[in-house]
């Protein structure tokens, strides 16, 4: 009997041991599996974050967000980054049914079907959140935020529908050195629980690690953008340069001089000499309002349209009307060209001037030593319909006497600034012309150039500078 009992006890203990062993094995397996998940995660994160040099910032942010959601088991989230200026944050990556966080939440009803999710995403992406404002803005000040009771939290908008309702939320700043560059926000745990302190620590460390890669990726973006702009500018400058006359024409009884100094940011000035017909010479000074390649292309268009019409029409007003008609069709709605066009009769020294929204020419008269402004009305090219343009366009005539000088220029001359931001101004230009006029066109151009250079020494140049001088020697 005792023996049977002993055997039974032994068998039971054996079963118990086997059972325990199995449980231990299962536990080991579970731990191993978890370890694998962690190892996999660390590896993935490493890859995600290491790829910063050649991965587009938005793609990188989407990957980071994906892993952040997985780790803290959140059902939706977004990453906000600071805009380049103004202390404003904008969402750059969104996942899941993530609610817009700025505003009260009233009036927003979204269903997941019928494009609702897309609209929701767009609403989140278009939000601008100020530093310190709401959940995101607060985390942007540098400390993570855990919202356990959103019902009573003023930082969380109240959405009526179930889809957008926030049950729990977590936000952590992304910091590079001491500077916050953005914020990761996650809402609603997939298992229905509230986010814990350990979730908060996890998200903080993800944000911390990711920020280095995001910083470098953004830096790469800026460098890339700058490279594109530089390329654009050098192309624009090449176009602009190719449009300027290679040399100044020599005409008996007249003297001509001109110069163009492009600014760092290409403004879009040009000047031109046109053989209108035997005995008639066209002079052009123009300023295109657009920058870069688009400005340079419009300049090229304007130049060729003007040249082709100048050869059929001797009236400068008619030529400008044609240029306006032509350019209006192709020019962007926020671009225009200010231009002055003068036709000089090289036999009689009579100059006809038409002005389309440009600086008024200056006329030095040797007889009284005065500089006067050649007045005429005219709207810039590219903004008015033909009728309005024609209605307001006036022609003026100037009769050049021996010793007289006519100066055409762009606003870059009078708006050139010194180091303290003071403008050179029309008064100094007039004075310079008066003092140098006796030496003829070349002397005037030289004097203006030298004085401007002295005045603007050490200051940044914002606009192109163009001057064209015509004189009738004594």
């Amino acid at each position: 009997m005792m023996c049977v009992v002993s055997i039974c006890v032994f068998v039971l203990i054996l079963f118990g041991l086997v059972f325990h062993l199995r449980r231990l094995r299962a536990e080991v397996n579970r731990l191993l599996q978890e370890k694998q998940v962690m190892v996999g995660f660390v590896h993935d994160v490493g890859e995600v974050f290491a790829g910063a040099e050649d991965v587009d910032t938005d793609l990188l942010l989407n990957r980071i967000l994906f892993y952040a959601l997985r780790i803290v088991r959140a059902s939706a989230g977004a990453i906000y980054l600071f805009e380049t200026e103004g202390g404003v944050l904008r969402a750059r990556a969104v996942a899941g049914m993530f609610p817009p966080l700025a505003g009260s939440g009233r009036g927003m009803v979204v269903d997941a079907v019928g494009g609702g999710a897309k609209r929701l995403r767009e609403a989140v992406l278009s939000e601008r959140i100020k530093e310190g404002e709401g959940l995101v803005g607060e985390a942007a000040l540098g400390r993570s935020v855990l919202v356990e009771d959103p019902e009573r939290d003023p930082r969380i908008p109240r959405y009526s529908g179930d889809l957008l309702k926030v049950h729990t939320a977590l936000a952590a700043p992304m910091r590079f050195h001491d500077r916050v560059i953005g914020v990761i926000v996650v809402v609603n745990r997939a298992d229905g629980n509230v986010f814990t302190r350990s979730d908060q620590t996890l998200l903080e460390s993800i944000a911390e690690q990711a920020s280095v890669s995001v910083h470098f990726s953004q830096l790469r973006e800026v460098i890339e953008q700058k490279r594109r702009i530089d390329h654009d500018l050098s192309l624009a400058r090449r176009i602009q340069k190719s449009l300027l006359p290679a040399e100044t024409p020599r005409i008996a009884g007249l003297e001509l001089a001109a110069f163009n100094e492009p600014a760092l940011e290409v403004g879009g000035d040009y000047y031109d000499f046109i053989d209108v017909e035997e005995g008639l010479l066209g002079l052009v000074v123009a300023d295109v309002s657009g920058k870069g390649v688009s400005g340079a292309i419009i300049m090229a268009l304007c130049r060729s349209v003007l040249r082709s019409h100048a050869r059929h029409l001797s009236d400068p007003g008619e030529v400008l009307r044609e240029v306006n008609r032509f350019v209006c069709r192709d020019i962007a709605e926020d671009m225009f060209i200010s231009l002055v066009y003068a036709v000089v009769d090289t036999e009689t020294y009579r100059v006809q001037v038409a002005r389309a929204g440009h600086e008024k020419p200056l006329w030095y008269r040797a007889s009284d030593g005065d500089v006067r402004v050649v007045e005429s009305q005219g709207i810039a090219i590219g903004i008015a319909d033909s009728r309005t343009f024609e209605e307001h366009l006036q022609r003026t005539e100037v009769q050049l006497e021996p010793g007289d000088v006519l100066v055409l220029y762009t606003d870059g001359i009078v708006e050139a600034m010194d180091r303290d931001g003071a403008e050179w101004g029309i008064q100094r230009l007039v004075e310079t012309i008066r003092q140098s006029a006796a030496g003829g066109a070349e002397a005037v151009a030289q004097a203006v150039r030298e004085r401007l250079q002295r005045f603007t020494a050490g200051a940044a140049k914002y606009d192109d500078i163009t001057l064209l001088v015509l004189s009738r020697p004594v």
Partner: protein
């Protein structure tokens, strides 16, 4: 030069942009952003209060003209008020005073929209 501050005042049927400072190459993106926001919200009646404006670049004027054109296509307009002598001279030189409506004060511009 002082960078331009742009403040938006929203009224029932129109928006007023109060400008303060210089609208140069640096402030230009700010003007662009303000106009873009109005466009996106389909706000087409706009008054530009230029009382505090002491410089305007040609690119900024281009942006204003472009906005005015679009606004007109949508039944609205862009009008300028309280231009200093200097700003008016720039606008006049370009002939823009023949294209854009200019008023001496805010009230008359607001009334012109109501009419």
């Amino acid at each position: 030069m002082k960078q331009c501050r742009i403040e938006r005042e929203q009224r029932e049927n129109l928006d007023i942009l109060h400008l303060d400072g210089a609208l140069d190459a640096y402030s230009f993106p700010r003007l662009e952003a303000a106009l873009r926001a109005l466009r996106e919200e389909n706000r087409n009646n706009v008054i530009l209060d230029c009382a505090g404006l002491d410089y305007i670049s040609s690119a900024s004027l281009g942006a204003l003209i472009g906005f005015a054109r679009r606004a007109r296509e949508n039944g609205g307009d862009l009008k300028l008020v309280k231009l200093s002598r200097k700003i008016y001279n720039i606008v006049e030189l370009l002939g823009f005073h023949k294209i854009l409506e200019i008023y001496p004060d805010l009230e008359s511009a607001v009334r012109s929209f109501a009419a």
